[in-house]
Each structure stands twice: as structure tokens, then as C-alpha cells.
């Protein structure tokens, strides 16, 4: 892929259960992700607001957060559905309605297999719906989604950097030698987008179909335990 060694995927995990937070954190670390865990939807939004300065199109949003670290980005949000106060669904909606964060893929986890709930989440824009307890095999499905945001962010960063220069305005297709990295990224981005579209539709269909027939896994195979 040609990405730097330190640029791991950064996942924001939201769960009100301390036990489950510890578990999802370990699962994500085992999948080579950087993890931040929070205990509620509002804490999640707070974290995003303080960290995600780059993706915001609204200059007013930036002014409310004095400490913006442009290097820290979130490539995926994974959240429990049933939480007091703001549910995972509420959080999903807030994220998708925000101009700053709507491109961050959101995954919902739930201990209950409720088809209506699942389709509602998927319709609202959730990429995946995992039944708890979540396993390593489930997390392997997340890589394409996270890849997409990462590439997008990198592209945005490079454009940002370039626009700070005194030199000419930069467009993604520019042939200037210092900006040549953008071209392959854009191609990859398109590839990943296509892949992700197909995955998304397949998963959504699969989840809808299996949600009613089985009482177990929606997005994992029944009875097969993946040995790591």
C-alpha cells in the first residue's frame, strides 16, 4: 500500500460496559488497530469534536475546539447499540448528519438479534451490524471500510499542505513532481470505493436475509471458530 509504518487505523470504540470495552479494545489491538474507547455516545462526539479538525467544512465547528490535533484521525467508529442516554443508533444518526464526520464508517454491535433494529441501522448508514460477543473474524471485515477513510484523509491532508504553500494552487491531477503521490492514492481510493460498494450491498442483503432465519451470527459463519 505504501503507507508509513506508524499510520495504523484508528478506531473509536463506544460501549457503556467496562467489560465489553476491554474486550473490544483487545480485539481491535489484535487486529493491529489503534484504539480509543469511550463509555458513551456523548463522550464519543466530544472526542471527535476535539480531534477531527480536518474534515470539517464548517469553520465555526473548528472555533469551538481549541485543541485540534490534525494528525489524529478516526477511521472507524464501532458502537454498542443499547446504551443509556444516547443509543448507538442516536450516535450513528448524529455522525451521519454531521458534515464533519459523516464519512467515518460506523459499525453497530448488539447482544440482541432484532431484524427491525438491524435494518434500521443499516438504512441509517451503518456499514456493518455485529452480534455480540464480537470476534476477531468479524473485525476482519472492517479493513476495507477503514481503508477508504484513511486514503481520503491522506488525500485531504496533502491538498491542505499544498494549499499552505506560496506556490500555485494544487489540484489532485497536478503533474508537479512533489505532488505525484496523490495520483496513485486517488486510483486506489476509487478501487476501494467500488469494492466497498459491493461489500456493502452484499452484507446488507446477507444481514437482511439471515437476520430472520438464524438466531446467531449475521455477518459471520455459523459454527466455525476461527483460530488465530
Amino acid at each position: 500500500m505504501g503507507m508509513a509504518a506508524e499510520s495504523q487505523f484508528h478506531v473509536l470504540a463506544v460501549d457503556d460496559s467496562l467489560c465489553d470495552r476491554k474486550l473490544i479494545e483487545r480485539l481491535l489491538q489484535k487486529s493491529s488497530c489503534q484504539v480509543t474507547t469511550v463509555e458513551s455516545g456523548s463522550k464519543a462526539l466530544e472526542f471527535l469534536g476535539l480531534r477531527q479538525g480536518l474534515q470539517s467544512n464548517d469553520p465555526n465547528e473548528l472555533s469551538t475546539s481549541p485543541h485540534i490535533h490534525q494528525e489524529v484521525e478516526v477511521n472507524l467508529i464501532i458502537t454498542d447499540y443499547c446504551m443509556p442516554g444516547m443509543t448507538g443508533y442516536d450516535l450513528l444518526k448524529k455522525v451521519k448528519e454531521s458534515s464533519a464526520f459523516k464519512n467515518i464508517p460506523v459499525v453497530i454491535m448488539s447482544s440482541e438479534n432484532v431484524p427491525a433494529r438491524i435494518s434500521r441501522c443499516l438504512e441509517e448508514g451503518a456499514e456493518e451490524f455485529f452480534l455480540k460477543p464480537v470476534r476477531l473474524a468479524d473485525l476482519n471485515k472492517l479493513k476495507p471500510h477503514m481503508m477508504k477513510t484513511k486514503l481520503k484523509n491522506q488525500k485531504l491532508e496533502e491538498i491542505e499542505e499544498a494549499s499552505k504553500d506560496e506556490t500555485a494552487l494544487v489540484e489532485p491531477e497536478i503533474k508537479d513532481s512533489t505532488k505525484i503521490e496523490i495520483l496513485p492514492l486517488q486510483q486506489d481510493l476509487q478501487l476501494v470505493q467500488q469494492e466497498e460498494q459491493t461489500l456493502c450491498t452484499n452484507n446488507k442483503r446477507k444481514s437482511m436475509e439471515e437476520g430472520i432465519s438464524t438466531d446467531r451470527a449475521l455477518t459471520r459463519f455459523d459454527g466455525i471458530t476461527t483460530t488465530v
Binding site: S17, D20, L23, L136
Partner: protein, 157 residues
């Protein structure tokens, strides 16, 4: 390193953990937890189950308060407690505890206070029983490590 001692301890460990699965104290999720543990995170499982047991104590205490007065039972609170307990027991593979929660929820749904009290007592018993069992298991692990051996991977599938 005394290889005989290590081998004996390892066998003991293996037999013990298999018996916990066979007797239904633990389910497959516990083995998933063990897979997440490695040299870098040697205490992962014991830390997670410790959080779980703390959770149990807290939730049981709260539910007990809600069920205390027959004329004023907060079934909503009890239901919430059962839901959380069921969730975390499922996450760590505490099979017996989880199963009691299923019955517990049914009693809650029909607002059966007596039934709830029985389930509460049972879930208290089950989590404490499991806690003792796992403490023994972790002790065996420590003994193996101290004797210079490695902890066996037990595949229950």
C-alpha cells in the same frame, strides 16, 4: 526446569479447564478470550473476568435493592440490570450466569417478584462459584509459569 512437574501441572490445567467447559461453567467465548491473550498481554483474561465479577457484584446489589420492598419494585431497573449482566456474562463466556439471566428476564417481564428473587440468589451463587473456579485455574497457570513451563492451548472445538 523440572519437566515432569511442568508436564504434570500442564495436564492438571488441561483437565481442569476441559471440565469447566464440560460442566457448562464456560462456553466457547471463554476460549475466544484466551486466544486474545499473548506474551504481551499475559493478564488479559484474568483482568477481563475480574471486571466481570466486579460488575456482577454491583449489578446484583442494585437489583437486590430494587426488589427489596414488595409494594414498590422497580422492575425497569431490575430489567436493565439483568440485561447488562446477560451481556457481560455472554462476553466472557460465563455460561451458567448467562442462562440464569435468561430465566431472570422472563420473571422480570411478568413482574414476578418471587421469581426474580430466586433468580437473583441463583445468579449470585453462580458468579461466585465461577469466580472460585477461575481463581483455581489462574493459580494453576501461575504454577506452570513459575515452574518454567508454558500454558497449554486448549482447543475445545
Amino acid at each position: 526446569m523440572n519437566t515432569t512437574i511442568v508436564a504434570q501441572l500442564q495436564r492438571q490445567f488441561q483437565d481442569y479447564i476441559i471440565s469447566l467447559y464440560q460442566q457448562g461453567f464456560l462456553d466457547n467465548q471463554f476460549s475466544e478470550l484466551r486466544k486474545l491473550q499473548d506474551e504481551g498481554t499475559p493478564d488479559f483474561v484474568s483482568e477481563v473476568v475480574s471486571l466481570f465479577f466486579d460488575d456482577c457484584a454491583k449489578l446484583i446489589n442494585n437489583m437486590s435493592k430494587s426488589l427489596e420492598r414488595p409494594e414498590n419494585v422497580d422492575f425497569k431497573q431490575v430489567d436493565s440490570g439483568v440485561h447488562q449482566l446477560k451481556g457481560s456474562s455472554s462476553s466472557v463466556g460465563a455460561r451458567m450466569v448467562k442462562n440464569v439471566c435468561i430465566s431472570f428476564k422472563e420473571c422480570c417481564d411478568v413482574q414476578n417478584r418471587e421469581g426474580c428473587l430466586r433468580c437473583l440468589q441463583q445468579v449470585d451463587y453462580e458468579y461466585k462459584m465461577l469466580k472460585t473456579k477461575l481463581q483455581d485455574l489462574f493459580k494453576l497457570e501461575q504454577q506452570i509459569l513459575q515452574a518454567g513451563g508454558t500454558i497449554p492451548q486448549v482447543d475445545i472445538n
